[in-house]
Symmetry: C2
Subunit: 241 residues, 2 copies
């Protein structure tokens, strides 16, 4: 069925937009720093947000190498948090408070263009997540932020984290389309390169303040991407939505 | 994390409503019979719809027994269709026409109470699908019908069909809640019994015309269920939404 349905369609006809989440759709740094300043004003909120996020790639690498079994991001986030509390003067936090703090990743705020951008894009395309966040995290985050996904796909769906090819190829297989009919939308060049290697189209989203106002990102265009957009409203404009 | 988070909550506090789809949320018989009458007026539309659906449980049983490898419902539907065409005078249909006809399961119409019922229920609960339909089928069906799921879960998520315990227990595990904090909403007693055996709460939905006006269903209450509702508006009323 896969080959039949895919081959009967115009191969470059874009059908599915798959969105990275952390940094691309939601402002993890701003959301974490804001909540930390409110709840724990003695903590270096900027440094804490950055350190928590920096633990993420090494933790996933330990899973993908086989050192750790398959682990949900909620659990990796918690392991990283437990390793950070001493450095940030939070060793006194009990189990319930740590569990609540860990769910900060379920409460991240979207960038201001996201809800309107997705609403326009989903009139023309199937819009889904493709995030290393687990289904619970993505579902609760999307529900509280009102993000109108057609479907939530996660590393959990494929039992592999991006940039494993099973994730990018998995989106095309799930929706029974050719890889070039899927576009990954992301603010990170390594993610986009992984998608490109699997034959997906790619759109880079500028999120210059992803790591906070003190750490502006270089958002120069990479000509390897099919599109370069300022935000999701710009993506909708450029796609004629 | 599972045991910690679940045990810290009031166990009978309902958090998640998981919905069966075929018959419970969408009118498969009416949708298929209507489209068949329009496109193939010479065919016994009622008999064709029933025969297609009747092939479904035996096909899944062949997968679960290990006779067939893991197979998406779209592909099972197609195998059943290919076995039916001769009996219904449709042997002349080519590959493209069969592929289009098979996607009738992506175009099923919801019962009239569904969109409004889900919109009310999702203000208070996390609402998700739990269907043997594959993710592509459920996503496209929900998109065209405007069904506002918080998350789409499928047999494909768990690599097992209902009533396998991995599906019911999987909903609780995905959302990090206790089984009794999930309620399965379905129009079929065997599905509800499977959920109950895994510790889920259950709501039976009357869909007396699921198999068409010529074949009304017995919709008598089974006291084993936590709730018995006429439709999703009645479910919202009874849950105080």
């Amino acid at each position: 069925m896969q080959s039949l349905s895919a081959s009967s369609l115009e191969p470059r006809t874009l059908k599915v937009l798959a969105f990275d989440i952390f940094g691309t759709v939601v402002d993890w740094h701003g959301s974490i720093a804001r909540e930390m300043r409110e709840r724990y004003p003695q903590v270096d909120a900027d440094g804490f947000a950055l350190a928590w996020r920096e633990g993420y790639a090494p933790a996933m690498a330990r899973v993908m190498s086989g050192e750790l079994p398959w682990t949900l991001i909620d659990d990796l986030h918690r392991q990283i948090l437990d390793g950070l509390v001493a450095d940030f003067g939070l060793s006194h936090l009990g189990q319930d408070e740590r569990a609540h703090l860990n769910r900060i990743w379920h409460r991240l705020s979207p960038w201001p263009d996201v809800a309107q951008g997705l609403t326009r894009l989903k009139q023309h395309y199937l819009v889904c997540t493709l995030s290393n966040g687990n289904l619970n995290l993505l579902t609760r985050l999307s529900k509280q932020a009102g993000l109108p996904w057609d479907c939530i796909l996660s590393a959990e769906t494929f039992h592999a984290y991006k940039p494993d090819p099973r994730t990018y190829g998995g989106v095309a297989r799930v929706f029974d389309v050719a890889p070039e009919q899927v576009m990954l939308v992301a603010a990170h060049h390594d993610d986009l390169a992984g998608a490109r290697a699997c034959g997906l189209q790619t759109a880079y989203v500028e999120r210059p303040l992803e790591c906070g106002a003190l750490h502006p990102k270089d958002v120069q265009a990479d000509p390897a991407n099919d599109m370069h957009v300022r935000d999701l409203l710009d993506l909708a404009d450029q796609l004629g939505c």
